[in-house]
Amino acid sequence: MNDDVLICRCQEITRGEILEAIHDGATTVDGVKRRTRACMGLCQGKTCERLIQGIIAEETGKNRAEIQPQKTRMPVRPLKLSVLGGSRKDEV
């Protein structure tokens, strides 16, 4: 695969940039994420997480299943602020 291929489309991160992050010490999806912003866009890594796991596995000679995925956080799908915090009557 070409190094110019976009892996994370939300943040426009290429395979080359992912490789650079791995060579900088990233061994997990979160490690790549912190160094490149991959997985930080609107879709939160729904497509690129698996691809990044694959690239790390390839580079480190490990099985893809051994590569730690990113930490799952709410709300999983985009949710309007008014839904999360709009209807409260009591003051916080």
């Binding site: 990233a26 912190r34 956080r73 985009p78 949710l79 602020l81 999360l84 915090g85 709009g86 916080v92």
Partner: protein, 387 residues
């Protein structure tokens, strides 16, 4: 292997210390148990301001640190998304909060900083999205924002280029002392011994655990902060902003009686990042080492964001996140050597000020380590002040 200094903890503080030590030609080993910016720096916003700092020595450090920020990007050779002088605001909902902020600002101004109290109409000329029914605003025209993860990595890369040896995913299990009690090095979890006459603990929220290895009882505790990040939107705000409760929770927690506020310490802190997303915090909670989000906090943060910026109602949250900040009993970091263990130094316990104070912490501690004294007295930050 023999080094001049071994740094235990490769977060934003450890990487800054490593960078400034390498500028002084020290042979440095940086050990990180997990990965860089996996602790506080990867779980916070990027407010780099002085109007959120406790009046006195902490404020003096912030002023000096902001000075360093001005040239940092150029010095480190990579972007850290630093925006100088975007300005900072604290938003008062009523006269009580206004009076409290005015009192804090009077003391903050003693450090020679430009902090003003302005009316909500004046504030809305600067930030038109502010809710019009607010009482007034504390405004600091100076002060900026930064991307904390990028800053950590930039310090790390520059340190490496200057010869710092870095090992991540390698934790320290022991701090070795000689018969006289002086530091001689560390043992890592793979059983290796690394020799150095000086060791720095910069392990953030985990510093007390590392301190125990040297026989120290450090009053640093993990305090959880939760945040939200939104989808990217067009230009929404320029300043960084906090609600008045932010400084009150930080400096005068004893004045808060409402148990709901005390429970999770929810106060607003918000700014827009370079890519258009809004970072919205936050909380100050006791949750041990738990780094998960709670629905209670997420709702409270969203609720407060809408109170001060009603136009956010249709903006989507794409992720909640949370992290630990290293709390100390007097809200001041521990920076400098300790008389109890010669050769051992601390750079930890910055809680919510670690991003703003990272550069000055690295600079002053490197001076103390290399020259035996720093250009600004670290006495108020002495790790020995609690005993």
């Amino acid at each position: 292997m023999k080094y001049d200094v071994i740094i235990v903890g490769g977060g934003i503080i450890g990487c800054s210390v490593a960078y400034y030590l390498s500028k002084r030609n020290q042979k440095v080993l940086l050990l990180e148990k997990r990965d860089h910016a996996q602790g506080s720096a990867g779980a916070t916003d990027g407010v780099v301001s002085y109007h959120t700092k406790k009046p006195g020595a902490q404020m003096d450090l912030a002023v000096q640190s902001l000075k360093l920020y001005e040239t940092l990007e150029k010095e480190l050779g990579e972007s850290v998304e630093f925006v100088p002088d975007c300005g900072g605001m604290q938003l008062a909902e009523n006269k009580d909060q206004w009076d409290m902020l005015s009192k804090i600002a009077d003391k903050q101004r003693e450090s020679g900083v430009d902090i003003r109290m302005i009316s909500i109409d004046e504030a809305r000329e600067i930030e038109p999205q502010l809710a019009p029914d607010l009482y007034g605003v504390l405004y600091a025209p100076c002060g900026g924002k930064v991307e904390p993860i990028k800053l950590t990595m930039a310090f790390l890369h520059a340190a490496k280029r200057q010869g710092v040896e870095v090992k991540n995913h390698l934790g320290v299990t022991e701090i070795k002392k000689d018969s006289a009690g002086k530091v001689i090095g560390v043992v890592t979890e793979d059983g290796s011994f690394y020799e150095a006459p000086k060791v720095v603990i910069s392990s953030g929220s985990w510093s007390a655990e590392v301190g125990k290895m040297a026989g120290l009882d450090l009053p640093i505790k993990p305090r959880r902060g939760q945040l939200l990040v939104t989808e990217a939107v067009g230009p929404f705000m320029h300043c960084t902003a906090q609600c008045a409760l932010y400084n009150v929770i930080k400096f005068m927690p004893e004045t808060i009686k409402d148990p709901k506020i005390l429970h999770i310490g929810a106060s607003l802190s918000i700014h827009q990042t370079e890519n258009g997303g809004l970072l919205i915090g936050g909380t100050r909670e006791w949750a041990g080492f738990d780094r998960f989000n709670s629905l209670e906090a997420v709702e409270a943060i969203a609720h407060r964001a809408l109170r001060f910026f009603p136009a956010l109602k249709n903006v989507s949250v794409i992720r909640a996140f949370a992290g630990l900040r290293p709390y100390t009993p007097d809200s001041k970091a521990l920076i400098g050597g300790t008389k109890k263990v010669p050769g051992l130094y601390l750079a930890a316990g910055h809680e919510g000020d670690g991003i703003a104070l990272a550069p000055i912490t690295g600079k002053l501690l490197s001076e103390e380590i290399v020259d035996g004294r720093s250009s600004y007295s670290l006495e108020p930050f002495s790790p020995d002040r609690f005993s």
